[in-house]
Structures are given as structure tokens and as C-alpha cells.
């Protein structure tokens, strides 16, 4: 029985993919499968060669047809491959990402204690490969190993109200760098338009739907996967400069907070969900988005774009709450150490080169996955 399907939709050839696949198949576990969706038009030659060499039944390379309009392309890829997954639990990652197949052991340990668990989230780790770094990059990973059963209202406050006071800032249930039980996947499909995900940002769409329909979400603080900086499949196209909604004049190119907000807005509008009281928190998320810009030039560009959008959206009153400060000035050090239950460290640590290599490092630094069952006993 396949417990876990790790799905990797690939729309453009990725040189890192064969390494990712090889690393994950190095696991001795036999209860997971790796499903690579080739949406490149057959250009994954390296992977096909690797699959031929490995003869590993855990690896399936599939190439479904995807008739879809361009803006829906990534969602269409997900929708084409998720129904073909055989696992009792399903997870989706990008071609440059890494997911520890020991997730299957975590699922077993969770289900033993929480039989009705149907969505599992974990602390995320993000990684910027050396070639893409703009100066010093600081990694931030959770140091805790608590298993938490979050309430739906808290997850909704985090996702729809931008409320960071829930203490669940790292908890993002859904298929993307999360695992969803098959019956919940099917309920979501039945409950929302007959497809798994919609819109240009399938990761956020999946999170919204999972939060709405999950009966027992579970969150393990400990990171189990690494999301690469170059992964584009989780969000809308950052090059898209046209605001899709006239009354919410942000575009995906404004910044990461705006891109996430657009995906949430799309979900809400599609299903007639009207919420109030999230706007001020969102503006503060825009402030944080600006303040993490890695150069003065980027900070000012981002600040200008957000200022214009906020002014057009909420007027001068909204703009009064938007006061980002550029803090990454030369001479001000970046923090390294432990703060707010997170380890902050220079990504140059241990000279890692890939997401899988980075996971190898953080795995050595964090609570061992194989001890989770004992910890929960």
C-alpha cells in the first residue's frame, strides 16, 4: 500500500530535478511514490534516462495532456496529476524542492494518535542556492518539535486575516509542502468546482480550500521540506503587472504579500466569501515585505509600488499605516542565533549547494524525525 504520493509537476526542464529525485529515492522506505508530471512536452530527457537506469517502482514519470488557458497552466498541471497519485496521502512540491520521504513515518505517527487527521502541515524551510544569493542570506527554521492540533478559526485568522498573533505563522495546510489525506482531496474536489486547485496560484488556493474543509488539521513544527528560491509553481507570475481586480489594485509584481493576497482574493470572490477586518493586518504584511528587501533599490521600488496600490485602495488613511523602514543598511548586522523559537543562520553554513543538501544540513540540526513516535508515545 502506498502511504504517500509526492507529486512534482514540472512545466519547464529543471537541471536540479534528477538530483532531487535521486536524493529522495535514496530513502530505504517503500511506502511512498514519487510522481513526476512532465508538462514540458517531453523535454525531461535526463529524468527519463534516470528512471530507466534506476528501475525503481517508486518513481513514476507521467505526461498527461493539459488543455488549459495560460493563466491556469500550473493549476491545470496539478489537476492533471493529482488524480493519478496512488497514495493515501498526497503532497506537491516544486522541481527544485526537497521533501523528506520520512514524512511517511510522520504520517504514521500522527494517524496513530489522531486517527481523523486529514491535513498535515510542517515548518517550512526556504533555500537560496549560492548562485542566486544577493549577499548574505539568512535561513530561518523552526527549532521546536511540538505536534499541534490547530483550530480552524486560528488557521482562518492566519490565512484570511493576516493575523500573525495566532502563533501558527509557519503552519500552511494544503497540498503544497503539506500533505492532504485522499478523502479530503476528494471532498475538496467535490466541494469546489470539481477540480483540485484553481487560479494562477495553486499553492494558496489549495491552502484556502484545505483550511475550509479539513476536519482535523495537524501541524508539526519541525521542517520536513525545503522550498527553493527559484520555485515558481507556488504563486502567480511575479512578472504580471496588471491588477486583476479593479477594487483591489495590487498586482503580483508588487511583492510577495500582494501576490498572496491576490490568490486569497481570487478564492474568496470565486466562492462568494466576504470578510472584513483583514485590511490593516494586510497593510502591515506589506510593510514587512518591504523591510525584507535585500537592497535599498529594491526597498524603494517595492515601497513605491505598495504606496500607490494602498493609496488607490484605502486612500490616505490606509497609507498612513504604511510606514516601512529600510533596515538592511550596511554596517547593521543580520541576526544569527535563536530568536522566537527559530534558528537564524547564514545559508553559507556547511557549503550546501542544493535544496536536498540543505535539508541534509537542517536534518542534522533538528529533532530527529525517527524519534517522533517515541516523543508522542
Amino acid at each position: 500500500m502506498t502511504l504517500l504520493s509526492i507529486c512534482i509537476p514540472v512545466s519547464t526542464p529543471e537541471t536540479a530535478l534528477t538530483g532531487t529525485v535521486r536524493e529522495m529515492l535514496a530513502s530505504a522506505r517503500s511506502d511512498f511514490e514519487l510522481v513526476v508530471g512532465d508538462f514540458t512536452g517531453g523535454r525531461l530527457a535526463d529524468l527519463s534516462r534516470l528512471a530507466g537506469e534506476l528501475h525503481d517502482a517508486r518513481l513514476r514519470v507521467i505526461a498527461p495532456d493539459v488543455p488549459a488557458e495560460p493563466s491556469q497552466e500550473m493549476s491545470a498541471c496539478w489537476n492533471a496529476m493529482i488524480p493519478l497519485a496512488r497514495g493515501a496521502w498526497i503532497s506537491v512540491i516544486g522541481a527544485q524542492d526537497h521533501l523528506d520521504p520520512e514524512l511517511a513515518a510522520v504520517i504514521e505517527a500522527v494517524v496513530k494518535r489522531v486517527p481523523d487527521a486529514d491535513a498535515l502541515a510542517w515548518g517550512r524551510a526556504r533555500y537560496v542556492p549560492p548562485a542566486l544569493r544577493q549577499g548574505q542570506e539568512i535561513a530561518r527554521i523552526a527549532t521546536g518539535s511540538r505536534m499541534i492540533l490547530p483550530e480552524q478559526k486560528d488557521l482562518m485568522r492566519g490565512r484570511f486575516y493576516w493575523d500573525h498573533a495566532t502563533g501558527l505563522g509557519d503552519c500552511h495546510p494544503g497540498l503544497w509542502h503539506g500533505a492532504v489525506r485522499r478523502d479530503l482531496v476528494e471532498r475538496i474536489r467535490a466541494g469546489f468546482s470539481g477540480v483540485d486547485v484553481e487560479g494562477p496560484a495553486p499553492a494558496i488556493d489549495s491552502a484556502c480550500k484545505t483550511i475550509m474543509l479539513a476536519r482535523r488539521p495537524v501541524f508539526w513544527e519541525r521542517p520536513l521540506s525545503v522550498q527553493g528560491a527559484a520555485t515558481a509553481s507556488s504563486g502567480p507570475d511575479a512578472g504580471d503587472t496588471d491588477p486583476p481586480f479593479a477594487d483591489f489594485p495590487f498586482s503580483a509584481s508588487t511583492g510577495a504579500a500582494a501576490a498572496a493576497a491576490l490568490a486569497v482574493e481570487a478564492f474568496k470572490r470565486r466562492y462568494g466569501i466576504e470578510l472584513d477586518g483583514w485590511e490593516d493586518n494586510f497593510i502591515q504584511a506589506c510593510v514587512r515585505d518591504c523591510e525584507t528587501a535585500d537592497s535599498g533599490e529594491r526597498f524603494h521600488a517595492r515601497k513605491t509600488a505598495y504606496s500607490q496600490a494602498i493609496l488607490a485602495w484605502r486612500g490616505k488613511r490606509g497609507l498612513a499605516a504604511f510606514k516601512p523602514e529600510f533596515k538592511r543598511k550596511p554596517g547593521i548586522p543580520r541576526f544569527q542565533g535563536v530568536r522566537d523559537h527559530h534558528l537564524h543562520f547564514d545559508m553559507a553554513m556547511d557549503d550546501t549547494q542544493t535544496e536536498a543538501d540543505f535539508y541534509r544540513l537542517i536534518d542534522a540540526l533538528l529533532f530527529p524525525v525517527q524519534l517522533l513516535d517515541d516523543k508522542l508515545a
Binding site: R328, I332, Q336, L366, P368, L371
Partner: protein
């Protein structure tokens, strides 16, 4: 002016020592010197190395006509030290010579400081991993004055009752002002060192004689453990017994580790580091008239704590028997009733519990690349406060 002398006593581990020297030589700065005290049977390897190694910050002190006891090797190095401050590390360890910056900052903040301690990292060389091993990195970075009364209580009376007194003060992976070492020599019979457990003996003396002690939580050194090191003996009782035999043999005529006034045997198969520390502390306090009230009950607690960490039933039984025999003999069994070790429970895991615990990051060494303590220090520096930020007292950080 040499600000810091780093003493590197070594004995028959030339390969490790040369790697340690090479790692120290990578440091910039001219305000430190390194004294390599070679006490090896064969002087050639280090002598040959120093013919091609031309860094003037390093001096080789070759072996004498006869092998010295460990305290003799330490004694001559401290005597030859030209620095205003002195530090000692093992030949399989590492220290960051930029610790001179910390010393200067402490001198500015506290003009009368004469001993500085820090929390070291720990690391097992790849040849010393017969079982899964964990390295450790202290993660905090505060600088504070340590209360001598608290330290004295922890050390001489073992007030915390844990398997090791949390003191960490002295020359070994710490820095002591040369003038304090001179005061120690004057106060204790014209020698810097007397007892074979030289690091803990020095801790006892520094706590007794120091004016002001400052502690920095940020690590500046790495306690390495290679296959041949004393600390490796915690992984192998056979190795530990061999080391103790060497201590006794080379210390002929000097102080012995087994003493009637503290009749716990260090030759016992159940000997532990906890017991050797206790032996040293009691020797110092009895010899130099330091009040130890409360030590008996606290040491019994420490002994019980030591027994809690046994990996096997065999090890547990041996340690319990060793402590029980000693308590039965010590002061006519007065403290024997305090030694009530908890029953043995096999550990679920041995050295696998990585992660953050008590402000220390424990790292599974099989999963990381560093192969020497110096490499591990550079690895660890990516996750702790940078030296420059520590020394400038930075409180504001960029997001």
C-alpha cells in the same frame, strides 16, 4: 606586546597537533602567540614540522630529557608564556585567536577582570565515532560578571548536584591573566599546577584566587575529542582505564589520584569523569582548607545523576558499585544513605537527540561536513552571533 598566549601541550599525537597548529595559523593578527609544548616520546615529527613552518607567532618547546607528567608540561608552558593572558587547549581542540578582542572588551568593561570564561563548542573527530555522536554549539551570547560566591558554591560544595559542576572557569578553554597565575604560584607552594587532573585543579585555584571573573556565553573554542584523547575515554571505559594508568605511572612521586581521605577508587572499572572531578575538588579543598560543607550530600546527588546517563546495564552496574564502595568507606559510610541511584532504564536512543535544548544546539555529526574542530568552529559561526557584533555590543539587527 603579546596579549594572549595559547598553550598547546601535546603528547604523542603529532598528527592532530599539526592540524591544530595549521588551523590556528590561518588566523590574522599579531597579538597572540602559540606555545606548543611537545612531551612526545619522539621529538622528530614536530621538530621537522617546525623546520618548514615559519610563522613567528608559534614557538615549539621540545621534549626534555625525560617524559614529563602532564602537569610538568603545563607548568613549563605557563612559565614561558609572554602574553598578558594565558589560555590552554588540547592538541585536538581549537580556539579562535580573535578571543583577544573579547579579552580587550572585558578589560574595558571591567578593569579588574583577571579570568574570562566562555561556553565552548564540542566536536568528535571522525575517527572517534564508534557510536552515533552529537556535536554542540551554545547559542546565546551574553557577557556577564560571575559571582565568585556562586561559583565557589557550585564547585567546592557541588551545590547543583549534577554530574559536572557548571563552572567552566580557568585556563583550559578559558583565559586567565598572567598576573593571576603568578598569584596562584605564590599561594600554592611555588607551582602553578600540582594535581594530575590539571584542568579541574586550575579551576579550583582560579575560583579561589581571582578578583573578578567575566563569562561570555558565545563560544570561542571547540573541545575536540579524537580517538586517542582523554575525553574519548567517556566513550570507552577501557580507554579511560589506560589513561588513568598512564597518569599514575608518569606521576610517580607526585600526588596520587586514590587517597584515603576520599576513598573512591579511580582504578575501579566503574570510574567516571564525575568521580575524577570529585577527587580533584576534595584534594584541593582538604589540602588548602576550603570549607566544603554540604559536599557529601550534593556529591551523592551528582553520583546518582552520573548513573542516570549510563548507556548499558553493565556500565550502570559498574558505576553504581564503584560509587557504593566509595560511599561505604568514606567517613565511615556517613553519606552512603544519600546515594540511592534510580533503577537502570535503558535509553531509548544514544546520542541521537539532536536539536535545540537548554540554549544549546545539538547536531548529529554524521550529517555534517566538518572533519576537524577548526572546521566545525567555522561551521558553527554561521549560526551564532558574529565576533564583530559581539565586540561592538550590537543590539539592533537587520531583518
Amino acid at each position: 606586546m603579546v596579549h594572549l598566549t595559547i598553550c598547546l601541550p601535546t603528547r604523542n599525537r603529532q598528527a592532530y597537533c599539526i592540524k591544530t597548529i595549521a588551523a590556528l595559523a590561518e588566523a590574522g593578527g599579531s597579538d597572540f602567540e602559540v606555545l606548543v609544548g611537545d612531551n612526545s616520546d619522539d621529538p622528530a615529527p614536530l621538530a621537522d614540522f617546525f623546520t618548514i613552518f615559519t610563522d613567528r607567532r608559534f614557538r615549539l618547546v621540545p621534549p626534555g630529557p625525560a617524559v614529563l607528567p602532564m602537569i610538568g608540561n603545563w607548568e613549563r608552558l605557563v612559565d614561558l608564556a609572554q602574553g598578558r593572558w594565558i589560555s590552554v587547549i588540547g592538541d585536538d581542540d581549537h580556539i579562535d585567536p580573535r578571543v583577544t578582542g573579547l579579552i580587550r572588551r572585558c578589560e574595558v568593561l571591567h578593569r579588574d577582570v583577571d579570568a574570562i570564561s566562555w561556553d565552548p563548542m564540542s566536536f568528535h573527530w571522525p575517527d572517534n565515532r564508534p557510536v552515533p555522536t552529537l556535536a554542540s554549539i551554545p547559542m546565546t551570547s551574553g557577557i556577564m560578571v560571575r559571582q565568585k560566591t556562586v561559583l565557589a558554591d557550585r564547585l567546592y560544595r557541588w551545590s547543583e548536584g549534577k554530574r559536572r559542576p557548571a563552572v567552566g572557569v580557568g585556563l583550559y578553554h578559558g583565559a586567565v591573566r598572567k598576573s593571576l597565575m603568578e598569584r596562584i604560584r605564590q599561594a600554592y607552594g611555588g607551582r602553578y599546577f600540582e594535581h594530575p587532573v590539571v584542568d579541574w585543579e586550575n579551576t579550583c585555584k582560579v575560583v579561589a584566587q581571582a578578583g573578578k571573573i567575566v563569562h561570555c556565553e558565545r563560544p570561542f573554542s571547540v573541545l575536540g575529542a579524537c580517538a586517542a584523547s582523554n575525553s574519548a575515554s567517556t566513550l570507552s571505559r577501557e580507554t579511560m582505564k589506560a589513561r588513568l594508568d598512564t597518569f599514575e605511572r608518569e606521576n610517580e612521586g607526585g600526588i596520587h589520584l586514590d587517597r584515603p581521605s576520599f576513598p573512591f577508587s579511580l582504578s575501579d572499572p566503574g570510574v567516571s569523569l564525575c568521580l575524577s572531578i570529585a577527587t580533584t575538588i576534595t584534594w584541593f579543598c582538604q589540602t588548602h582548607g576550603v570549607n566544603q560543607s554540604g559536599f557529601g550530600a550534593n556529591f551523592a546527588q551528582a553520583a546518582m545523576d552520573e548513573c542516570r546517563y549510563c548507556a548499558t546495564r553493565e556500565e550502570y552496574d559498574a558505576k553504581v558499585r564503584c560509587f557504593a564502595r566509595g560511599f561505604a568507606l568514606w567517613e565511615d559510610g556517613y553519606w552512603a544513605g544519600h546515594f540511592r541511584p534510580a533503577p537502570f532504564t535503558p535509553p531509548k536512543t544514544i546520542n541521537q537527540l539532536s536539536g535545540l535544548s537548554n540554549d544549546t544546539l545539538h547536531i548529529r555529526e554524521a550529517g555534517i561536513k566538518p572533519a576537524t574542530p577548526a572546521e566545525f568552529y567555522r561551521f558553527g559561526e554561521h549560526a551564532i552571533l558574529p565576533v564583530d557584533a559581539l565586540l561592538s555590543g550590537a543590539r539592533v539587527f537587520a531583518p
